[in-house]
């Protein structure tokens, strides 16, 4: 296999990325794939906002609106936010713990391809009879009632990309447990690594219920089962429970890595170690644990009974406590620090008030009787965009600026970055703040349009204008990315100058084996410790040795393609005779590739010591 990507043709680069098992490249693939879907989801959001800008608008039909709205939520959550975060974990976490790769490089690649092809599968629905239209929650009675194939694409596409996510979760868990560098005890791990760890555990436990739910719905829609057919004895509440047993932890799967990213950024640009590190760890674990015990707060109006509503209401509020611990710890990280407002830091600063506002409305909707009013209105839409956009998206944007040099060895333009931030921040509050009031003024969510004379016009118009601001900000970011890559000004190991953790001790971008010698970790923020002692490099824990690396493989693409083909077969099996054969062929391709892969011995390869020593003389600059 290749060593370092040299100047090669497009085909070779493509092949390289299709077969890569390098966690950094896979991370970049995740971020690029997720970024692509973010743009799609963003365009869908803009369509929503255009349609709702004025009453009785006919920009899109009601059916199309439902499809756009569903795909917006589904795309943003499953195909944009989560993959981008997983990409960041892939990219950064092994560097932070001083590992050469993740525990299962092959599975890592497989995870990416499953996600990506699953997402593509889902989006091809637009051209094959219509996209899913039952909301991202796809409640069973409506999903079964949906006449075209959209929901079938939803169940199969999400299922496939869900498998990918699950693999990623297991992979990160094992990596963190088994592959930390010497001296990297659990309580010395950087905060982002800790959140990766907890989030991976959440993924491990939250995705199986979704898997089951999706299977049940698939069987109902495509194979004649009766799980949700009320007339046949089925029960649709089962779906709601499964969806939220998954869905609530899912929102913490999104927010915890974001918290991790902000923890790194606050510490870095305040030049101060994270305040209350151990309570941060504790709070993270606690949020993860509580995350599983509150799902029914999405179902207050379903009629589960007073006892259930009361228990789940109070349990939900309890999550405010560990989250609050984190908020105050961040503020006190900056307190007494030397705070520099770079672009990532601006995003981090913008995050605090925005997220807190979203969090406190979360507590408000957790007040069950009040939620009878809030539920399924724009108040909830406002709540979750405040936490998601004000938390997760700001974190992603911050991380993209923060880690861009580590990924590509060149810095995004800071001035443009600050303009992006200002526009996005204004647009965000403009769009979503007003929605709290719209909801209380009687505007249900998921409506394709609203009638005139209900007092909802002004608010909706303001909200739509805000979305335009966000769009401009995103366009500037795209411009910034292109210009930066064109100029390609190279930077060194620690371009921000304040790096604290191991990833900043490596060249930007790091060599494909990451660490020539595994580092010796001497405390929290190792690199900072070494820098304070006047050293440029981290103390190595071993002499230079041969390095064992895994081989690349094309099988991940084949396996994922197999599942994709099988899905098309399943989706169309009730309309076309070719459905079942294609389903079977797809499964054969997928499982056959797996079998081939496991029959073929793959011991990887070694980078000889001589080559590594050689590098040192030339200086590692890729």
């Amino acid at each position: 296999m290749s060593t370092i990507a040299q100047k090669r043709g497009f085909g070779a680069t493509l092949w390289d990325y299709m077969t890569t098992v390098d966690h950094k490249k896979i991370g970049i693939l995740y971020i690029a794939g997720g970024g692509f879907f973010f743009l799609l989801g963003g365009i869908e959001a803009l369509i929503i906002r255009i349609q709702l800008a004025v009453p009785n608008n006919g920009f899109v039909s009601a059916q199309t609106f439902n499809e756009v709205m569903t795909m917006h939520g589904t795309t943003m959550i499953f195909l944009a936010a989560m993959p981008i975060l997983i990409g960041l974990m892939n990219l950064i976490m092994p560097l932070q713990i001083g590992a050469r790769d993740v525990a299962f490089p092959f599975l890592n690649a497989l995870g990416f391809w499953l996600f990506f092809l699953g997402g593509i599968l889902l989006n091809t629905s637009w051209f094959l009879g219509g996209a899913p239209d039952a909301g991202w929650t796809s409640y069973a009675s409506l999903a079964l009632n949906s006449p075209h194939h959209g929901v079938d694409f939803y169940v199969t596409g999400i299922q496939i990309s869900g498998f990918g996510t699950l693999m990623g979760g297991i992979n990160f868990l094992v990596t963190i447990i088994n592959m930390r560098a010497p001296g990297m005890t659990y309580m010395r791990m950087p905060m982002f690594t800790w959140t990766t760890f907890v989030v991976s555990a959440l993924i491990l436990f939250a995705f199986p219920p979704l898997t089951v739910a999706l299977f049940l719905l698939t069987f109902d829609r495509l194979f004649g089962a009766n799980f949700f057919e009320v007339a046949m004895g089925g029960n649709t509440i089962i779906w709601e429970h499964f969806f939220w047993i998954f869905g609530h932890p899912e929102v913490y799967i999104l927010i915890l890595p974001s918290f991790g990213i902000f923890s790194e950024i606050f510490a870095t640009f305040s030049r101060k170690r994270l305040f209350g590190y151990s309570s941060m760890v504790f709070a993270t674990v606690l949020i993860g644990f509580f995350g599983f015990m509150v799902w029914a707060h999405h179902m207050f109006t379903v009629g589960l009974g007073n006892i259930a509503n009361a228990i789940f209401a109070v349990a939900s509020m309890a999550i405010g406590v560990p989250t609050g611990i984190k908020i105050f710890n961040w503020i006190f990280t900056m307190w007494g620090g030397s705070v520099k407002f770079t672009t990532p830091m601006l995003y981090a600063a913008g995050f605090i008030p925005s997220f807190v506002m979203g969090g406190v409305t979360g507590i408000m909707v957790a007040v069950a009787p009040a939620d009878y009013q809030f539920h399924d209105t724009y108040f909830v839409v406002a709540h979750f965009h405040y936490v998601i956009v004000g938390g997760v998206v700001l974190a992603i944007l911050a991380a993209v600026h923060f880690y861009w040099p580590k990924m590509f060895g060149t810095m995004l333009n800071e001035t443009l970055g600050k303009i992006e931030f200002v526009l996005f921040f204004i647009g965000f509050h403009l769009t979503f703040f007003i929605q709290h009031f719209l909801g209380l003024m009687g505007m249900p969510r998921r409506i394709a349009t609203f009638l005139d004379d209900q007092g909802l016009n002004t608010g909706n118009l303001i909200s739509s204008i805000g979305a335009a601001f966000m769009a401009v900000a995103v366009l500037i970011l795209l411009y910034n990315i292109i210009m930066t890559q064109v100029k390609n000004v190279r930077v060194g190991n620690d371009p921000w100058g304040d790096g604290r953790t191991l990833e900043w001790s490596l060249p930007s971008p790091p060599p494909f084996y990451n660490f020539k010698q595994l580092p010796l970790v001497r405390g929290i923020d190792t690199y900072w410790i070494e820098k304070m002692e006047g050293k440029q490099e981290v103390t190595p824990a071993e002499p230079v040795n041969d390095i064992h690396m895994p081989n690349g493989s094309i099988f991940p693409v084949f396996i994922s393609l197999g599942f994709m083909i099988a899905s098309y077969g399943a989706i169309f099996r009730n309309d076309h005779a070719w459905g079942d054969p294609v389903l079977i062929i797809g499964l054969i391709v997928a499982f056959g590739s797996m079998l081939l892969r496991s029959l073929k011995d793959d011991h990887g390869f070694h980078i000889p010591k001589s080559e590594l020593v050689d590098k040192k003389d030339k200086g590692v600059k890729a």
């Binding site: 436990f205 199986p208 069987f219 009766n226 799980f227 004895g233």
Partner: protein
């Protein structure tokens, strides 16, 4: 310790499945996977319990009408036995007895196939003999899905063990394949654990 290294019974390490980093990783990763599988099966059990005996009308078949204690007992015994035979296989793996390990694995596979045959017979009997098909009622869907998922795991486990046996037939034990044998046997035990709950919750509780 290298994967390609040649071993004798004496140099064979104590926990061969965890002697290399790859082995350690696989071992841990597989256990985590089983943690996820626990939730998966719990979800299926929950579905089954929620839909147990939920049928469209009074004439529909419910659990007391269909299950057969005898067959469930035979299947249970077969699967439980296959669990101890796979323990024997791992015992010999740890003692670096490749031939004996293969032999016990073979017995395990045969027992697994016997279990599978019973299950296929059972399903065939329900669908053809009793008119209790997958689409008959919510209860039938839940039953076939829960037991069928378990059956699918059995099929996968058998395929895995057979592939391992065939692939390594002429190669003997190494630190490269020892973790694989070990994990296949773990998987098999897990299938057994799930079955313990299936025979209890589905068959036994379906008859009282």
């Amino acid at each position: 310790m290298h994967v390609e290294e040649q071993f004798t019974p004496k140099t064979w390490p104590e926990s061969p499945e965890r002697a290399t980093l790859e082995g350690k990783n696989k071992f841990l990763g597989f256990w985590f996977f089983l943690g996820g599988e626990t939730v998966l099966f719990a979800s299926l059990f929950a579905t089954y319990l929620a839909l147990k005996d939920k049928v469209p009308n009074k004439d529909s078949l419910i659990s007391t009408d269909i299950f057969d204690l005898k067959l469930a007992f035979i299947m249970t015994m077969i699967l439980l036995t296959s669990s101890i035979t796979s323990v024997y296989a791992i015992y010999h793996m740890k003692n670096f007895h490749f031939k004996k390990m293969q032999a016990w694995l073979f017995i395990t596979v045969v027992l697994g196939l016997a279990f599978l045959a019973c299950e296929i017979y059972e399903f065939w009997h329900y669908t053809h003999g009793l008119d209790f098909g997958y689409t008959t009622s919510a209860f039938s869907s839940a039953f076939y899905t829960l037991v069928g998922f378990h059956g699918g795991h059995v099929v996968f486990g058998l395929g895995w063990m057979i592939a391992l046996m065939v692939r390594n037939a002429n190669r003997g034990l190494s630190l490269y394949n020892a973790p694989k044998f070990y994990l296949a046997s773990l998987y098999w035990h897990f299938i057994d654990v799930v079955w313990v709950f299936i025979f209890t919750v589905v068959y036994l509780m379906g008859m009282v």
